[in-house]
């Protein structure tokens, strides 16, 4: 435990920032890249997690527990979002027999 807790001071915060930015960008690229709605949802999770990681890193470096509580809340929201999102996917599959995002093109005026 002692060893682990001191690990924080060894790793520069910049690394975490770099990592989470990379993850976020990858997630976003995925959102743009994929047509499969479920894959898009997964990429979204990726982005959520990059943010979570950053929050936790800052929380740890500042020794402020609020950041981690926020991560907790984000997880709650993510869980709720996934539940609703997946049910939408299910419905979409049922209605148009596909989960291709490009078929959802009624979202205009």
């Amino acid at each position: 435990m002692k060893e682990l807790s001191s690990a924080i001071q060894l790793i520069p915060l910049e690394n975490y920032i770099f990592l989470s930015v990379a993850l976020f960008s990858i997630g976003m690229m995925g959102v743009l890249f994929r047509r499969n709605t479920i894959a898009i949802l997964m990429c979204l999770e990726l982005m959520f997690n990059s943010v979570n990681l950053l929050l936790t890193a800052f929380s740890a470096y500042h020794s402020d527990p609020s950041g981690q509580v926020f991560v907790f809340f984000i997880m709650i929201v993510a869980a709720a979002e996934v539940a609703v999102g997946l049910s939408i996917v299910v419905m979409m599959k049922r209605n148009v027999d596909s989960i291709d995002i490009n078929l959802l093109n009624r979202l205009k005026w």
Partner: protein
């Protein structure tokens, strides 16, 4: 102010009587029997007359020049304080006597003349309202009260010209009269406002006492007097605003007699005579008045030569006579102008009432070509009409001679050319008046359907009274030449400041009179030869005639010129402004903003193609731009 003259406070009764008459006759319009309204109205004006006479004696005996009676405070805003005050001095007394005296006679005459009209009660109500306004006009102690009366008489004139409102042409004439008057009124009120700014008051006494200190020919005075003159030109029917007056003959004849001959049209003369102190200080305006007056006098006299409607002839002669009054005003002979107003009121009212009697007898016919031979059928009318014609022509000893001669002499003092022109106008007047007279009363009756008869007594008595006045009215002011003392002029001298002018010898004066009288004699003989001996009857309207004759008969096409120059372009401007500017420019600009918004909307809407991937791309691009903007700009 000097000590109050006893009983002078009764002056408020003078306008109050006709007002009461108006209220009674208008409110109880449906309850009054056929003659009652006329009797009430006439009584009220007669009571006014009696009060005026009473005031006349009171003022004369008091030895004071004027009295001001403040009734209440009308408008008071800052230093603009306008009391509702009446001024009784010699000038206003003369006018009051004319208005109430002749007014009463015409009211009485109207009882007979309007007997069969279904709206006789309204008629008398409006006549009383007119009398009230006119009295207010001449009795007001400041320009604003004068203006109330000024507008009031204009409005009553509108009502009475359009009295027979079934006829659209009459209504048009009424409207024309009102609008033309209004054009003058705008100038008048601007003049009043400038007066107020210059003298910090609009009350006669204060303005005149301050004006005496001003330099003669001061630009502000010229401007003020010119603006006031615009008002007078509108009201007194001078060029270029005179065309309403001949059209105003659409009203019943007593109206023409009272409003468009004896009283209202002389309001402009009264106003300028009242402001004589100002006008004496504005030589430019005086010259303008001379030119205006002379031009009007001659041009309308020429037009009168070719008119065949009995009332139109008289109307043009009125305009012409008003021109003479303006000439007198321009010459600085203010009391001469007022004197001419007085005598003119006598004989012109008489002429109109006589004409009314004729029209009445002819069953409504007004065309002199269809009359003739009425001498024997209507003796009283004939006689009175003769007196009036002689008076207007300026034959001694009738009243017109004295007043016109006074003006002509004054003109000669300035320039013989002026005299010659004025005399020329007088000769033309004489010719067309005798043309009218001969055509109506001599020869044979040319309209077989009519059965002329003498009018009832209620109409002839006023004629007789007026003919006595026309006959002897001139003796009010016998010039020194005939051993008189110029009583009228001296009487007015206290209220009106006439310009001093060079004296001319009595020999010249006699010479002038002889010249003018002999010329008048020739003219009368000429008219007699043309219309009685040769029994010439003017051609029918459609008959071919020379160009000049047509131009004259159509009053130099002034109405048409006005229509082409003002009315039509104005109407077109109105249409243009509404159809092009209002609808096509302004309104569509406003609508354009709305259309532009919705167009832009439909343009932007194309971006919303519904493709979620595209939205995502757009969103990311937006976020990117946002971050870049925040960080690097």
């Amino acid at each position: 102010m000097v000590a109050l003259i006893p009983y002078i406070t009764l002056a408020w009764l003078v306008p109050a009587f006709p007002l009461v008459g108006f209220l009674i006759t208008s409110l109880a319009k449906n309850k009054l029997k056929h003659n009652q309204a006329g009797i009430i109205a006439s009584t009220m004006v007669a009571l006014s007359f009696i009060t005026s006479v009473f005031l006349f004696f009171i003022l004369n005996s008091s030895g004071q020049d004027s009295a001001t009676l403040t009734l209440f405070n009308w408008v008071s805003a800052g230093d603009l304080k306008i009391p509702f005050a009446l001024l009784i001095d010699h000038l206003s007394l003369v006018m009051m006597l004319i208005i109430t005296g002749i007014g009463a006679l015409i009211h009485i005459y109207s009882i007979g003349y309007m007997r069969d009209d279904e709206r006789v009660n309204s008629f008398f109500a409006q006549m009383n309202l007119f009398t009230f306004s006119m009295l207010l006009l001449v009795m007001g102690a400041n320009y604003l009260i004068l203006f109330i009366g000024w507008e009031g008489v204009g409005f009553c004139s509108y009502l009475l010209i359009g009295f027979w409102f079934k006829n659209p042409a009459f209504n048009y004439a009424a409207r024309k009269a009102f609008v033309m008057n209004r054009i003058g009124d705008l100038g008048f009120i601007l003049g009043i406002i400038l007066l107020f700014f210059t003298f910090k008051s609009v009350s006669f006494n204060e303005v005149f006492s301050q004006a005496a200190t001003l330099q003669s020919g001061a630009p502000i005075l010229t401007l003020i007097t010119l603006l006031l003159l615009v008002g007078a030109v509108g009201k007194s029917a001078q060029i270029p605003l005179f065309t309403w007056l001949p059209d105003a003959m659409a009203g019943p004849t007593p109206v023409s007699a009272l409003i468009h001959a004896a009283t209202m049209v002389t309001a402009g003369i009264y106003m300028i005579a009242r402001s004589s102190i100002l006008y004496n200080l504005a030589p430019i305006t005086s010259n303008v008045m001379i030119i205006l007056g002379l031009t009007t006098a001659i041009i309308t006299a020429i037009v009168g030569l070719r008119q065949n409607d009995i009332k139109k002839v008289l109307a043009y002669s009125t305009v012409s006579q008003l021109g003479y009054m303006f000439l007198a005003l321009g010459l600085g002979a203010y009391s001469a102008a007022i004197f001419h107003v007085t005598t003119h009121a006598f004989f012109k009212a008489l002429l109109f009432l006589g004409a009314g009697s004729i029209i009445h007898a002819m069953g409504g016919e007004q065309d002199i070509r269809k009359m003739g031979g009425l001498r024997s059928k209507m003796p009283i009318t004939f006689l009175t009409f003769l007196i009036a014609t002689l008076a207007i022509s300026g034959i001694p000893p009738f009243s017109g001679f004295f007043s016109k001669d006074l003006i002509l002499t004054k003109a000669f003092e300035i320039s013989p050319w002026l005299y010659a022109l004025a005399l020329g106008g007088a000769l033309i007047t004489c010719f067309y008046m005798f043309r009218l007279f001969y055509l109506v009363f001599f020869g044979n009756q040319r309209l077989s359907s009519a059965h002329p008869h003498e009018s009832p007594r209620v109409m002839t008595v006023p004629l007789m009274v007026l003919s006595v006045l026309s006959l002897f009215g001139g003796f009010l002011n016998i010039p020194a030449l005939f051993g008189g003392d110029s009583g009228f002029e001296n009487f007015l001298h206290k209220a009106v400041t006439s310009k001093e002018s060079g004296e001319i010898s009595s020999a010249t004066e006699v010479g002038l009179i002889i010249v003018s009288l002999s010329l008048l004699g020739i003219i009368i003989v000429l008219a007699y030869r043309t219309y009685v001996k040769k029994s010439t009857v003017p051609a029918a309207d459609g008959a071919p005639s020379s160009l000049i004759a047509r131009i004259v008969a159509n009053k130099f096409y002034l109405d048409e010129i006005f229509a082409a120059l003002i009315e039509k372009p104005f109407g077109r401007l109105s249409d243009f402004l509404f159809k092009s500017v209002e609808v096509k420019v302004l309104d569509s600009a406003v609508d354009g903003v709305g259309t532009l918004t919705s167009r832009l909307g439909s343009l932007v809407r194309r971006l919303q193609q519904g493709n979620i991937s595209f939205y995502l791309f757009a969103m990311v691009a937006g976020i990117l731009l946002f971050i870049i903007f925040i960080l690097f700009v």
